[in-house]
């Protein structure tokens, strides 16, 4: 072991961070990479250009009638044919784009300005302002849009501009809701607090920190609203309210086409097609914008809580890469043995090894600690044993012998039967492991019913028994409660009770006490130890805390970037750690450090230890 470590340069452990990609691509650049977004934008730009440049673009006067050439299909002279009065359809279409585009622009601008300001103010300032704005928005959403529009048109003598402004005001409600919820999300970020503590004013915080983060969802909402505005505008024109015939409008053209639909069906195609394409373009643009925004979150530029473990810097040359028949013999006394477990992540650049040929043996009634820092693969190992690896990762090799039966870890579906029966599991976030909709008793009964065929009354008694077993005071009362009515420590006890329901032989505990207070942690660790003794249940305890290892484990296995550095009894690990990394990690613990002295960091320790190692080998 120490040989391979000596070849690991000390600077491997300096945190270099996840492989630095190029600058996180901004929203618009991501959007510009989507072909559908480009096509949609191109169509919308073309329609807008046509609307503005109609007098120069249109081949003919849109009002000029030619009664000798009515209801024609497309030809050289009339590219899109003619209508019932022999007017050139293409020219009418081009001229008709103007009121539509103008109407959309009016509605969208009003909706955007009003909705953005209202939503931002409600989300950012909160309190009474939020309550007032939310009520207003609810009111706007409750109004029947079409009826309002028609009455506005009646009152204002069919003025399209007034109608579209009204539509914009009503549409602002939806925009405001989106802006408000996006702002609420950002508002809770700590960097907003930090900016405020640094003395920045609200205006500066909003411009620098809030607006850039809510612009994505807003664009999505706006483009969807624009699509609605197209339909509203053309709908009004179709009814003949708004712009008066014979002036060309898209909606009016649809109306004209509908009058001659039996003898000239073609006439519907240009106007109907233009409307459909425009609505589609806005919809697609919104879709692409949503995807582009979502990529921003999921690319890990935001909460890359666990920066994807970088590929192992220097894969130390192992004498025997991968599982070999020599190591493949499982320990005969072990209740659980794993050989050659290899887990990979599928990435853009091919497979990345996250856990490399891991072996472990768990003796009956013992507790094995899997120790490592983030990215070491300790959680993945426990998940692989349960067959619950997260999407994007998979086990490519590995066999497990559990109570004499062999399982292939690369085929997780074969492990399904074991989960919750022979293998139990508890998690780091006890509250997240319970469904808030159901009582504690329901959670336990669910598992009991799944595994045993006991009648209901018996199962209920067993549920109370389980809660007693995990030392919950007044179990009958707790059984009736919902998860939010109990504390975190209590929730973890319920989690343990649930995993005990089927008398598992092995319990996997993934950082079971990390989220808990120390006094509660001590109780839970005591409980796990007593249960393991009383039920002769073996436990795999995944942790990063050396104190927990010293407290609860019989053996420990140290993982670093997916490689097992050493595996020994707890006494050996603490008194005579073999691997420099283990030594360094133990020394970095403030518990062992002299007060007033800098803590020995991993880099310092490794440099020192490697120097010593060199001297020894030279001597």
């Amino acid at each position: 072991m120490s040989e391979s470590a000596a070849e690991t340069p000390a600077d491997v452990f300096t945190a270099k961070g996840p492989a630095s990609q190029d600058k996180p691509t901004r929203f618009f650049r991501r959007l510009a990479r989507k072909p559908l977004a480009i096509a949609a934008t191109a169509w919308l730009v073309a329609v807008s250009a046509a609307a503005v440049l109609a007098p120069w673009l249109a081949p003919a006067d849109p009002l000029a009638q030619d009664l000798l050439a009515v209801k024609q299909t497309p030809s050289q002279a009339h590219l899109l044919g003619t209508d019932a009065f022999g007017r050139d359809v293409l020219s009418r279409l081009v001229y008709g784009a103007w009121p539509t585009i103008l109407g959309i622009a009016e509605a969208v601008l009003i909706a955007c300005a009003l909705g953005f300001v209202l939503g931002l103010a409600a989300g950012y300032f909160g309190r009474w302002l939020d309550r007032a704005i939310t009520q207003l928005v609810d009111l706007l959403l409750a109004l029947p849009g079409l009826v309002i529009l028609l009455s506005i048109l009646a009152v204002f003598n069919r003025d399209m501009t007034v109608a579209m402004v009204t539509l914009g005001i009503m549409g602002s409600a939806g925009i405001a809701r989106v802006a408000r919820s996006a702002t609420l999300n950002v508002r809770n970020e700590l960097y907003i607090d930090a900016a405020r503590i640094s003395g920045l004013g609200d205006a500066a915080i909003i411009v620098r920190h809030v607006v850039p983060r809510i612009i994505g969802p807003l664009i999505v909402q706006l483009s969807l609203f624009a699509a609605t505005a197209v339909l509203a505008q053309t709908g009004i024109s179709f009814l003949g309210l708004g712009v008066q015939p014979p002036a060309p409008t898209w909606g009016g053209m649809v109306y004209e086409a509908s009058q001659t639909i039996t003898d000239d069906p073609w006439l519907l195609a240009p106007s109907g097609g233009a409307i459909a394409l425009t609505v589609l373009a806005f919809g697609l643009l919104g879709d692409s914008a949503r995807d582009a925004a979502a990529e921003g979150w999921t690319r890990g530029t935001r909460r890359g809580r666990r920066p994807a473990p970088s590929p192992r810097p220097t894969p130390s040359p192992r004498p025997t890469p991968g599982p070999t028949p020599a190591t493949a013999a499982a320990s005969p006394t072990a209740v659980l043995s794993v050989r050659g477990l290899t887990i990979v992540a599928d990435g853009d650049t091919g497979e990345r090894v996250l856990v490399d040929g891991m072996d472990l043996d768990l003796e009956q009634g013992q507790t094995l600690g899997i120790v490592g820092e983030s990215g070491s693969g300790k959680t993945l190992t426990s998940l692989a044993i349960m067959g619950l690896l997260p999407p994007g990762t998979r086990a490519t090799a590995g066999t497990m012998v559990l109570e004499g039966a062999r399982y292939n870890l690369a085929r997780p579906e074969t492990l399904r039967r074991l989960r919750g029966s022979t293998l139990g599991m508890i998690f780091q976030e006890p509250m997240a492991a319970l469904d808030p909709c159901f009582t504690i008793e329901h959670h336990l009964l669910e598992v009991l019913r799944h595994h045993g065929k006991a009648p209901r009354s018996q199962a209920k008694a067993r549920a109370i028994e389980l809660l007693e077993l995990v030392r919950i005071p007044d179990p009958k009362d707790v059984a009736r409660r919902y998860p939010h009515q109990i504390s975190g420590g209590m929730a973890q006890r319920v989690g343990i009770a649930r995993s005990l329901a089927a008398n598992p032989r092995v319990l996997l505990a993934d950082e079971p006490t990390t989220a808990l207070d120390v006094t509660v942690q001590a109780e839970i660790l005591d409980l796990l130890r007593d249960l393991s003794e009383a039920e002769s249940m073996a436990v795999i305890l995944v942790t990063h805390d050396w104190g927990v290892v010293a407290d609860s484990c019989d053996r420990a296995l140290v993982l670093y970037h997916g490689e097992t550095l050493e595996s020994a009894t707890v006494e050996q690990i603490f008194s005579a750690p073999q691997h420099p990394y283990t030594k360094a990690l133990l020394r970095a613990n403030p518990h062992n450090a002299a007060v007033g002295q800098p803590l020995p960091t991993i880099q310092d320790s490794l440099r020192e230890l490697l120097d010593d190692h060199d001297k020894e080998t030279v001597a």
Binding site: A15, P24, S198
Partner: protein
């Protein structure tokens, strides 16, 4: 006890959350503490003890029901917004979560310039110089200022957050669980950095943590908080090694030590106490 006049003095602080009287929750019930210039005060407690609330109250982030907070002799309990803005340069903060505390859409340089932006006397070049200087000081590479938070690991982000806190040369930094989200190996580096900065710049620190061993390592004095009240206060080493209050004792007993033999003894003691209390 305190030779120099206190830099921060909190007197009989009460903070109550909740709108209606029936559902209100008393987060702090009369807490008094003082920090001298250049001193680190450790604040230890479990969840719900009110330790974070004290930090937020000092920073003006939470309304105060009763009591007073004085900074450098000036009462800032209900300081108006304008005064708070100016205080921003003297009173800073480092949060627990290094991911949420940096805006992913802004470069490190933009983030670091923020605390300096309230000082009109600084030119652009001066700000750039200060950023380069502070990045060097916290051990980050030179091109950091042009990069985005997404390109750094948790430990590096915490260094950047510390750089943001100290770039304006504050006199007091509130550290709210600054190493709890970090790996052990990174935790040591960040603790060392905080200690060095504290000594070099003569910073006073309010170091909030749930971990007594971490607090012992960085603090001069320790205050133990339980359900919104101080139960014990004293020399950091003393509180850790010879706790007086039963709650502090329980806290020390419960914290597992990285030594199997010692920990076994601790565990047996704990078990005996539990059995005794169960039969009693």
């Amino acid at each position: 006890m305190i030779p120099a006049p206190a830099l921060l003095e909190v007197k009989d602080l009460h903070v109550t959350y909740g709108q209606s009287r029936r559902r209100e929750f008393q987060a702090l019930k009369g807490v008094s503490l003082a920090i001298s210039p250049g001193e680190t005060l450790g604040l230890v407690g479990e969840s719900g003890s009110g330790k974070t609330t004290i930090g937020r109250a000092v920073l003006g982030q939470t309304p105060i029901s009763d009591g007073s907070i004085a900074f450098d002799g000036e009462d800032i309990t209900h300081a108006p917004r304008r005064r708070r803005k100016e205080l921003g340069r003297q009173l800073q903060v480092v949060f627990q979560d290094p991911y949420s505390s940096l805006n992913p859409a802004r470069t490190i340089g933009q983030t670091l310039a923020e605390p300096l932006s309230t000082d009109p006397s600084l030119s652009r070049d001066a700000i750039r110089g200060r950023i380069a200087e502070i990045l060097r000081r916290v051990g980050m590479p030179e091109d950091t200022a042009e990069r985005y938070p997404g390109q750094f690991s948790g430990g590096q982000r915490q260094r950047i957050a510390i750089a943001r806190a100290v770039i304006g040369r504050p006199r007091l930094v509130v550290c709210d669980e600054p190493v709890s989200a970090l790996d052990l190996s990174v935790q040591a580096q960040v603790l060392n950095l905080l200690n060095e900065l504290q000594q070099d710049m003569g910073l006073a620190m309010l170091f909030i943590s749930h971990d007594l061993t971490v607090v012992r390592h960085v603090s001069h004095r320790t205050v133990v908080l339980y359900r919104g009240q101080i139960v014990e206060e004293g020399d950091a080493q003393e509180v850790n090694d010879h706790p007086q209050h039963p709650y502090t004792q329980a806290l020390v007993d419960a914290a597992p030590v990285p030594d199997p033999a010692l920990q076994r003894a601790k565990r047996e003691k704990r078990r005996a106490r539990r059995l005794a209390s169960a039969t009693a």
